[in-house]
Subunit: 223 residues, 2 copies
Amino acid sequence: MTCADAAPPVVDAAIVDLLGALAYAQLSGFDRLAEDARLAPTLGRRADMARLAAQQVQHFGRLAQRLADGGVDVGTAMQPFVTAVEAFHALTVPSTWLESVVKAYVGDGLAADFYREVATLVDADTRSLIDDVLAEEPRAAFAVGEVSAAVRAQPAVAGRLALWARRLVGEAVSQAQHVLAERESLLRLLMQGSGDLAAVAALTGRLTARHDDRLRALGLGGS
Amino acid sequence: MTCADAAPPVVDAAIVDLLGALAYAQLSGFDRLAEDARLAPTLGRRADMARLAAQQVQHFGRLAQRLADGGVDVGTAMQPFVTAVEAFHALTVPSTWLESVVKAYVGDGLAADFYREVATLVDADTRSLIDDVLAEEPRAAFAVGEVSAAVRAQPAVAGRLALWARRLVGEAVSQAQHVLAERESLLRLLMQGSGDLAAVAALTGRLTARHDDRLRALGLGGS
């Protein structure tokens, strides 16, 4: 309990918001990955993407359980974040299998980084849940082999995929800003470290830097 | 090992076919349940359907692993069954949430019954895999509450849903017959008990009887 003792209601609302936003991101991620699996060139690749989708549901289940333990319905907690998450997906519909693989990898990586960042800001129970989720083996590892092979075979695709990856992170940051503008409790949670908006900017900076590392792992350079 | 000692190649081909057919049924079931989840009237129901879809992927993973242990690629093993399974789904696209719930429940139940039936015909390793899959808690239990409540609130839906359920099992049997006409190894596996086609007819009869029990559990009467 970092801040809960000082101002329990605010932190509680923030934790419900945080868990609700993450839960809807997972449920919606499942939905989109399941759809993207159809773009797979082989049944084996389709199964890889299906496995990734199934893991989103497992994470969703953990978040829903944590909310239920606190007497909160996950559906209610997710509702405020449906619009922003759906807007993100509507603006980033992959048009090829490789774009869907990059989206899966980038989305999975950003989510994991974000979990790591917020783990330092939340109460012990929520932190333990986050540790559980992060303890699972790397989820979108298949993407590295898939994209690297495509880039080696056809170097021209690298530029297009790098732009795509940049668009993904741009749209994610943009939707996150919309959410924070409307959910004061979440904004206050994220500002806990320094107490001002610079903390949120620094968080965005760290997430973007790790995103660039992931792009390099995919053979897409990085900015 | 029931029959493997007497005629190993035939049984091996049949087991590969059986696991391949079940694996594609699970992967495709995942795909369709994920799509049907979008019909859900609430986020909570959508999550129920997503969980069911995720379980298909877990079962798929077990079947794929068992094939891999035998040196067989799951993609190759599934290929012969893609057409029949996709034909089944193309002919049974739910048009409402309740139709999708009935399809999930009926499909899940039929699959479980079929697993139980073939468990008596296969080698010890495959039987142990089947036991693992069946040991999981009832998967589509949420369907009973969902459909019963709808039928109580609006009794007129019962007749339409009962017809829908009958169509589902009819199309499933029809596609299974196409598959058996083309895959002699599978047909021979299923005939093992009595050595003639009557065994397959009896199996179909048992599966249909249990299907009727499930319809009654949903409050849809049964034939």
